[in-house]
């Protein structure tokens, strides 16, 4: 592949912590291969050198949480051939979508000395709520192997292998002992999308759903199992409402379990 025809890669940040972008930089063994395969045209986390668009592939990290975000994502979309939203913020609104269940003014008054300087939307929402998204990578943060698979697939013009089934598939394939059944550990694996390699269960921790809802996720069906290992309704709601609480299946199941603070606001 000659340098002249390398596809242009851009990495964009919206409301986020940068952890997903760093996942790319963390792939130290493959980073040179990535740099050979694509022209890193816009990636402020890695380089201040900026190449003008348009871009062949844009990786978009972060959620839409300010009026400025709303405008900027349109520009990114217009400049991008393939737009990939990466991470729980970009695909579901992220942790900051907790505000969607609360009163922004009240929260801001608690957190900031001078909230009047803020210019924020009432909600934190995924990229796909604002512009068409071609592909998404789940996770908080995303998985480095999935990111490389996605870049490789886009370069080869094929569909990336990003299964939407449960984390349980990865646990059973790895030979992990089920932490929910054998240890009584609350685990969202049966309703959460695979891709992390069952990272937490591998270390005897329950899955907390950072990859968001799997295909046909059924958190209501999982609730009796969570209750049987000692998680009351409110705890079930909080577990579902951590990283991907605004994703519809988790939102619905958590909303019936947690009182809405806005209703309590006086």
């Amino acid at each position: 592949m000659s340098a002249a025809v390398r596809p242009r890669l851009a990495v964009w940040k919206f409301s986020s912590c940068d952890g997903c972008q760093l996942t790319l930089l963390d792939r130290e063994d493959e980073l040179l291969a990535v740099a050979e395969a694509v022209e890193v045209a816009y990636f402020l986390e890695a380089t201040s050198g900026v190449v003008e668009g348009p871009y062949d592939v844009s990786l978009v990290e972060g959620s839409i949480s300010t009026p400025h975000d709303v405008e900027r994502i349109q520009e990114v979309r217009a400049a991008s051939k393939v737009l990939v939203s990466i991470g729980a913020c970009a695909t579901a609104g992220g942790i900051q979508a907790l505000r969607n269940f609360a009163d922004l003014d009240e929260l801001a008054s608690i957190v900031y000395a001078h909230p009047s300087f803020l210019s924020a939307l009432d909600t934190s929402t995924p990229i796909a709520d604002h512009v068409p998204v071609d592909l998404e990578l789940r996770g908080c943060p995303i998985d480095g192997r999935q990111l490389l698979e996605l870049i490789g697939a886009v370069l080869a013009g094929r569909k990336p292998v990003l299964p939407a089934h449960s984390v349980c598939v990865e646990c059973k394939s790895a030979g992990n002992v089920c932490v929910l059944v054998a240890h009584g550990e609350p685990c969202l694996g049966p309703v959460t999308q695979a891709g992390c390699g069952a990272l937490c269960p591998r270390y005897h921790r329950g899955c907390y759903g950072c990859f968001g809802p799997m295909e046909s996720a059924a958190p209501e069906s999982l609730a009796p199992a969570l209750a049987s290992v000692g998680l009351d309704e409110a705890d079930q709601g909080r577990l579902l409402r951590t990283f991907n609480g605004w994703a519809p299946p988790f939102r619905a199941a958590s909303t019936v379990r947690l009182p809405d603070p806005r209703r309590r606001t006086t």
Partner: protein, 376 residues
């Protein structure tokens, strides 16, 4: 000679002899709060003094008040991961000038399975017919399976999720093993060893053993009878295929779909479920490709995705597909049922869906249909 007694030390020597022959010796051992199947260095690695408590959706280990090596029921996994692994390379390919060079997968290592339960022997036999028999033999499976040395372990007790008695697969191994051991506890612990093949007999000759007596055989028969008597669950193996076939619109399918997570655990722990998907990966330079095959499940949407949409979109249709294949259409396809009564799908279902209970519920209202029908 068809049987013999060996001491624990002699049984240990027997495992050593298998390793000396260049085999990877695999058997039950305790890891992460469960009996798993993994490499054994000797009998001390077995779950000595451990028992398991299994019920739908729940598994716990507990200490026994003796030093039984096989005092548990079914290990958390079947032997499937060793014969039909979760992921295997089909081939590797490398760009080589104008063409490409294909490398087949590595040859498998010879295996010895220690402590295979009768239900799991039956499960292996089912996969032998599915993957190793018929017109299309799975080459990888056949290569791994061809030379496995099998030491079965008869069950002296059953767990609450066991129903091998009703499926006719256990608790005593009758075929498909080189040696079968039954454990005799007490002041002079011994393993009662039955010989199932010529190479089993040859291996036994390499370790110290004494002749078994009629009393030892009677003890083994009594243990098997106790194990069967301890089973509270059952499936009417002779009737279930017809029952499910004529109840495809039964309202129970809707009811179980409300509880089912479609998480795939039942299919992945099942010793007979064999479905896979094929994945291709290419390195970033586009010069090295790997085609691999991984476990899939009739519970995933991708599994029936055709033309961009799944054929079985509802959980109802996916659960029904699984149960009717296992207990009904498997018979049409392979001439036997696809269930061996090991009970793992009950234990390892996070919400404890019990196959025997679902079958019983349909049987109790045989012929019932939803008024107006249900979309499949």
């Amino acid at each position: 000679m068809t049987d013999a007694l060996v001491t624990t030390a002699a049984f240990d020597a027997l495992l050593g002899a298998l390793a000396d022959d260049g085999r990877r010796v695999i058997g039950p051992r305790v890891r992460d709060g469960a009996v798993v199947l993994d490499d054994l260095d000797g009998v001390a690695d077995l779950p000595v003094g451990w028992a398991d408590e299994q019920s739908p959706g729940r598994y716990r280990l507990r200490r026994r008040d003796d030093d039984a090596h096989f005092g548990f029921t079914t290990p958390s996994t079947s032997w499937k991961p060793f014969l039909h692994p979760a992921r295997e390379v089909v081939f590797r390919a490398r760009l080589d000038g104008a063409g490409f060079e294909v490398t087949p997968p590595d040859a498998p290592e010879p295996l010895a399975f220690i402590g295979v339960r009768a239900c799991d022997l039956a499960g292996i036999a089912v996969q032998d017919r599915v993957l190793g028999g018929g017109r299309f033999v799975d080459a990888g499976y056949a290569a791994r399976r061809s030379d496995v040395f099998v030491v079965a372990a008869d069950c002296g007790e059953s767990g609450p999720t066991c129903f091998c008695g009703s499926m006719g697969t256990g608790p005593t191994a009758t075929t498909g093993f080189d040696l079968a051991v039954g454990e005799r506890l007490g002041d002079e612990p011994r393993f009662f060893v039955r010989i199932g093949s010529a190479r089993g007999a040859a291996l036994l000759e390499r370790v110290e053993h004494t002749p078994a007596t009629e009393a030892d055989r009677a003890d083994a028969r009594a243990a098997a009878a106790r194990a069967v008597a301890g089973q509270s669950r059952s499936v009417a193996a002779g009737e279930v295929a017809g029952l499910l076939a004529r109840n495809l619109e039964h309202p129970r399918w809707d009811e179980v779909a409300e509880r089912c997570l479609a998480c795939t655990n039942c299919t992945l722990v099942c010793p007979t479920c064999f479905c896979t998907s094929v994945e291709d990966s290419v390195d970033l330079a586009g010069t090295e490709a790997v085609r691999s095959r991984r476990w899939d499940s009739c519970f995933t949407l991708d599994f029936t995705a055709l033309g961009g949409a799944p054929v079985r979109g509802s959980v109802r249709s996916r659960y029904r597909q699984w149960l009717t294949h296992k207990l009904s259409t498997w018979q049409d396809q392979f001439g036997e049922l696809g269930c061996v009564g090991c009970g793992r799908c009950l234990t390892w279902c996070p919400v404890g869906i019990d196959l025997t209970e679902e079958v019983a519920a349909i049987g109790a209202t045989d012929g019932a249909e939803n008024p107006g029908g249900t979309p499949s």
